[in-house]
């Protein structure tokens, strides 16, 4: 047994290694990126294959291939990644896995490092019918990763390990075991089209099989150690909580000196109905303390109708649905239930200027964003995308007119060009171009649209901590790979006006923007200059 302080994400790595994972794929995002980054550092030594895939869908698909070939896999992504890969996720629930597979999806309540929405990915459990575990801290990140592989093995289903920022980026002492043997990395695909092909009329049969499987997993969940009750039979007040909220709830109970029994739901889907039903018996009030959506609360309300119709269920009526929870929020809720006094700490408002994120010193984007903003004709619409280029939305640039999701700047720009006479410039980084920008570009070319696309190629996926991408000619394992050229791809996709330049040559960039804005075809400027942080790092090496 080892005992070390680990980051939640690193505890997941330890759990996966102990479970014999042989194939790791993913796409970097916050707060999940350390899983791929840190796994890659030890991959060769531990005999594990690790890759950054081109996006979350290709990452999941790669893992499906590994699973069908008998190799245990781990897929890692941030919350929005599950949206990208969901097309492959749903049929995977139908086919099931062969070798175990765990999919880590990291949510970011309060949007500390996430722009597009405050996503509660637990909801995918209901539409995909894939089991979901929800760890509270690094120890549970380790334990639940192992448990997830066990469940996957037992029921031939992928299992989602859903973390949040406060679990994934929490450090605490973890007691863990090191893997004692090298994992299986070489498998064999044994043909079984009946199991691996979703094709009617099999599809409906498969759905019925899946529903049966979920029933079995539900009774397994009833006895799972991932759900725990802090026995306190005398307590009339109950708290049902999951993920990191469990820790906030415990803290709040201590602070308020309130006696309650806590049911920790580590196994979020399928929910252990009988366990909840027994927990509700004998209680007068129950607080469901969960972050974001009231998924557990809604189920508890239904269960209570039969188990204990008199129990008062509290949840989102006294807890926020937007933003993460903390001990204070739970204290306020407990005060409302018990009538005990709780004085919220009075925050002084000094009206201090906010220090927002900004482009780094020497960042090549400093040459691009202000130049384009200055030179573009008045009224030009600027489209932002995901990555370091998001800073274009913040001061001193404050220039983006809209921002959505990975690769969307060009896709939406095309729609604007088709319906208006306005000029549109769409910005995107190189990582995002390879992730899903190419599709929008193809659609714009094919449908005869003419936005100007500027790919700000800083030669790496920078925002999430410098991960390799297909434009670099290097894999995460440090191996040489084909260096894909953005301009060549665009040319092959039918873009006829392309300029590749170094944005430090501001005049060249200005001229290209003015020239291309007049074109009645889709045009592309690739501004190629290495990320300043990467350049400094490379100089040090």
């Amino acid at each position: 047994m080892q005992k070390e302080i680990l980051l939640g994400n690193d505890a997941i790595i330890m759990g996966a290694l102990k479970s014999g994972v042989g194939f790791v794929s993913g796409y970097p995002g916050c707060p999940s990126a350390e899983i791929g980054d840190d796994f890659a550092k030890i991959a060769k030594q531990k005999g594990v294959y690790v890759e950054w895939s081109s996006n979350e869908k290709t990452a999941l698909e790669a893992a499906i291939g590994a699973s069908f070939s008998g190799v245990k896999s781990l897929v890692n992504m941030k919350s929005f990644g599950i949206n990208v890969c969901s097309d492959a996720l749903f049929p995977l629930a139908y086919t099931g896995t062969k070798a175990p597979m765990v999919i880590v999806v990291a949510d970011d309540p309060s949007c500390h490092s996430s722009a597009q929405s405050e996503q509660d990915s637990r909801g995918y459990a209901f539409i995909s019918k894939i089991p979901v575990l929800d760890p509270a801290d690094p120890q549970e990140c380790y334990d639940f990763t192992k448990l997830a592989f066990e469940i996957s093995e037992k029921f031939n289903t992928p299992v989602i390990l859903r973390t949040t920022t406060r679990a994934a980026h929490q450090r605490a002492v973890v007691i863990f075991e090191e893997a004692d043997k090298m994992p299986k990395k070489d498998g064999e695909f044994i043909k079984d089209p009946r199991q691996y092909s979703t094709m009617p009329p099999r599809t409906l049969e498969m759905k019925k099989e899946l529903l049966g499987k979920i029933k079995k997993i539900k009774s397994y969940a009833e006895k799972s150690e991932a759900n725990r009750i802090s026995k306190n039979k005398k307590a009339k007040l109950g708290i049902i909580s999951s993920g990191v909220s469990v820790l906030h709830a415990k803290e709040a109970l201590q602070e308020m000196e309130i006696n309650a029994e806590i049911l920790e739901i580590g196994f979020f889907y399928p929910l252990p109905e009988k366990l909840i039903s027994n927990f509700l018996k004998g209680k007068t009030s129950v607080l469901v303390a969960e972050e974001m959506s009231p998924y557990i609360e809604k189920e508890v309300l239904l269960i209570a109708k039969n188990a204990n119709p008199k129990v008062k269920i509290f949840g989102k009526n006294i807890l926020p649905e937007a933003g993460e929870l903390n001990p204070e929020a739970v204290c306020v809720a407990l005060a409302k239930i018990t009538g005990k006094k709780y004085n919220k700490f009075p925050i002084k408002n000094l009206n201090l200027p906010k220090r927002t994120a900004r482009l780094c010193e020497g960042c090549p984007y400093w040459y691009i964003l202000p130049t384009v903003k200055r030179i573009a004709p008045e009224g030009t619409i600027f489209a932002g995308d995901i990555g370091c280029n998001m800073m274009g939305a913040l001061p001193p640039h404050s220039m983006y007119d809209f921002m959505f999701c990975m690769g969307s700047s060009i896709g939406i720009s095309h729609g604007i060009k088709k319906t208006t006479k306005q000029k549109v410039i769409s910005f995107m980084g190189d990582g995002t171009f390879f992730h899903s920008g190419i599709e929008g570009m193809i659609n714009a070319v094919y449908n005869k649209s003419n936005p100007l696309m500027i790919v700000m190629d800083n030669r790496i996926t920078a925002m999430t901590g410098h991960q390799t991408n297909p434009g670099m000619g290097k894999t995460i394992m440090g191996e040489d790979s084909q260096e894909l050229q953005i301009a060549d791809i665009a040319k092959a996709c039918g873009v006829n006006y392309i300029k590749v330049l170094d944005p430090i040559n501001v005049k060249e960039l200005e001229d290209a923007v003015l020239e291309f804005l007049k074109k009645d075809e889709m045009s592309l400027i690739v501004c190629k200059r290495v990320c300043a942080l990467l350049e400094r790092k490379q100089k040090k090496l």
Binding site: T165, H248, C331, A357
Partner: protein, 190 residues
């Protein structure tokens, strides 16, 4: 130590906040405490304000420190220290690097110092970056310098030996010596 020790370390993304947090986590574990800390990466780290929480003691539940409950705030930047005063309690002590990373719309040094001087909290202003640059030709180790100061002045209930052992474990060999020097520089000098 019966009570939980609540420590906030804050600064600007890229200043080494997380390295300092890792050192304190490790030292607290070596002293037999239960420890939990919470940090932020990604977008919030790119030159923006970064606030991390560290809690250690006999038993720690939440990784987050509630408003007003911090025992000590270590700020690697003065303006960011001022930001913390909005939610500091009467008992909260401040250890501040007298060092400014100005940004568009930022307050002037005199304004910040004036607002800080209005507080009745115990406050330690230390020119860590300046001293480290002058004596060690490296201002990044100013966070380790501040840690030495905190241990020496008993602002943090951790022993010198535990911090040195933590440096041994956490800091890559290349930078170990300069961190030990930075720690000893303030630990010995005060």
């Amino acid at each position: 130590m019966e009570k939980i020790f609540n420590l906030i370390v804050n600064g600007v993304g890229g200043q080494g906040v997380i390295t300092l947090l890792s050192l304190i986590d490790q030292a607290a574990m070596l002293e037999g405490y239960k420890v939990r800390s919470s940090e932020l990466h990604g977008l919030s780290q790119r030159g923006g304000s970064v606030e991390t929480h560290i809690r250690f003691g006999k038993n720690v539940d939440s990784p987050l420190i509630s408003n007003g409950k911090a025992d000590l705030i270590i700020s690697l930047e003065t303006m960011e220290a001022l930001r913390e005063t909005e939610k500091s309690g009467k008992q909260t002590k401040f250890l501040i690097n007298e060092f400014l990373l100005p940004f568009q719309g930022s307050l002037k040094k005199e304004e910040i110092n004036q607002q800080l001087s209005l507080l009745k909290n115990e406050m330690h202003m230390v020119r860590a970056s300046e001293i480290c640059k002058e004596k060690l030709q490296n201002e990044v180790v100013s966070s380790t310098y501040l840690l030495g100061y905190a241990v020496n002045k008993n602002l943090i209930p951790l022993k010198r030996e535990s911090i040195l052992a933590a440096i041994e474990k956490i800091i890559p060999e290349k930078y170990r010596e300069i961190n030990i020097n930075a720690f000893n520089l303030s630990y010995g000098n005060n």
